[in-house]
Amino acid sequence: MSKTFRRKLDLKNGRVDMSHGAGGRAMAELISSIFKDAFGNELLDQGNDQASFPTPAGGRMVMTTDGYVVSPIFFPGGDIGSLAVHGTVNDLAMAGAKPLYLSASYIIEEGFPLGDLKRIAESMGAAAKAAGVTIVTGDTKVVERGKADGVFISTAGVGVVPDGLVLSGDRARPGDKVIVSGSMGDHGVAIMSSRENLTFETEILSDSAALNGLVEAMVAEAGPHLRLMRDPTRGGLAATLNELAHQSGVGFRIVEDRIPIKRQVAAACELLGLDPLNVANEGKLVAVVAPEAADGLVEAMRAHPLGTDAAIIGETVEDDQHFVQMTTGFGGGRIVDWLAGEQLPRIC
């Protein structure tokens, strides 16, 4: 991904600013110059949201971890507890894995209401049960008042991949079709609508959901024709397609009119000056699939409750600059870029 970085981090005098956590290029640069240098290994360098590796006992396993700092903790359509299950389950599922076990690590601020903590834990337990995973280990830390904000949760997860299935961000090939599983931007707008300083009302609920059931149906339908899947969380569809373009060394061409976006989400984004394609999702996926399997796959997805609005939004093309280009509804062309800087901190 180094081609996209134009300037080195200032490791001597620089400080972490909010853009380093925003899911855009600044964060990618931070990871590349600090964490990859320190941890570098073949699995990490693949740059996926999860690592997939053979186990000594045979078969392949997938592992992932994610931290949750969402604000507010309770939001329309979910809370930090259910989100901490869905996000991690989805990262496992995107590798085609069957998620099995999760860990739960809580960092709690002194003074946090016990009732809220119980509510979060119960929501987390229910989400795990619904997703068919078990929370098998955990950790609890309390920090002084003011040293955290309510509660932060970190979850790790492991799962197993069916034999012969390889899904990875570097597998998109020119001619492949790009599919999204449903409407874009719901989670981000639901969070924004519940922030104190943004006074607008909407009935939009977060799409926070575990996608492993949908993925199972997709693997059953398209199996070896599936190239890759990724959940477009922070940074939205735009960030995800740009990441994938770089990872696979291709470009994408998508069509604005084919991307499902709810009317209320479009309206809220209009009001706030945001592009729905940059807004986070927590229950949607992007899949790249061989062209001959695309129609059947969309049909199978639509038959699943979490894929009713699935649509082919475009295709993979050859492009040595890895542009994500879009035909606008207006009829012109434009790039769909990563978002620079901070759009909305603590979305997940």
Binding site: R6, M18, E29, F323, F330, G331, I335
Partner: protein
Amino acid sequence: MKYVDEYRDGDKARDIAAAIAAEVRPDRSYAFMEFCGGHTHAISRYGIEDLLPANVRMIHGPGCPVCVLPIGRIDDAIRLAKRPEVTLCTYADLMRVPASGGLSLMKAKAAGADIRMVYSSLDAIRIAEANPERQVVFFAIGFETTTPPTAVALKAAEAKGLENFSIYCNHVLTPVAMRAILDMPPTPDEPPIAIEGFVGPSHVSTIIGMEPYEVFARDYRKPVVIAGFEPLDVMYAILMLVRQVNEQRAEVENQYIRAVRADGNRVAIDLCDEVFELRDSFEWRGLGAVPKSALKLRDAFAFYDAERRFAIETQPAEDNPACECGAILRGQKKPADCRLFGSVCTPETPTGACMVSSEGACAAHWTYGRFRTRQTGADLRRRA
């Protein structure tokens, strides 16, 4: 989305594009400036260039408040924010604008300054009310559109008796800047710009109305078509400009009739007159010092003036000499003409302000349009 989708209709766009293509004379070219960054953004975001004939060229104007603010004023804001008693409230776009010494408001915030991003001037009032022990300064920028909300905030502070609130005023005036562009003498390194008409401001015109643009039609013989920010508005305004040029007319026309009244918004104008007065001169990035081009608080409201409360004296600060923001804001160069564009200057690591704001010509071209000026890795290395 009602009242929005109608103005983004692809079929209507093709109809207007066909009309423009039919009416432009093949034996000549047309060059129009869209003054406002909002129009620049719409042109890039909807790919309007793809719908225009090759002989119609749009020149991006300086109507991006973040872009035209000189570095010295950002330096002032950073110095203010670093004072232990100050909470600085700013619109988010300003956070990443490069200031002197490699600083920006975002970096100052990371280093400990109390800087809050607000969506509205009244958010700053709420922050001042909630934090009576803090000196809350509202970093007010923008053209005539954002000036009335600043005046409203000031009146609210006065009504509430808020003593810990002040305004760092950087409001600037559109017609004066348009005139400065037309009056600009050509220089040896920069070609003169032959603007044949303006796509006139959208939101600014809802405040000031049509009359302030008459001078351009009358004295400069340049047609002005006030247009909304939706892509069909822009397309239709371009068609209206082509017609004026073909018919050798120079008039102020209003395409944005659903929002702009000929006499503007009287209440807002009167409120601004009560609160603000003209500065003798104000420094613009790209245009230099322009007389009578900006506003300051009247003496009657001196108490709320951060410049007086904190004795701010703006120090001149140099732009990066390789940065072409100035020429780009004047319409003399295009973003891709700058050798920093896309090499060291990107939205993540901007060198100039035009790469920061979504209304800036460079950010718009980078974010939406750079596939049109494809560069190879070797091109970029050569230029950097």
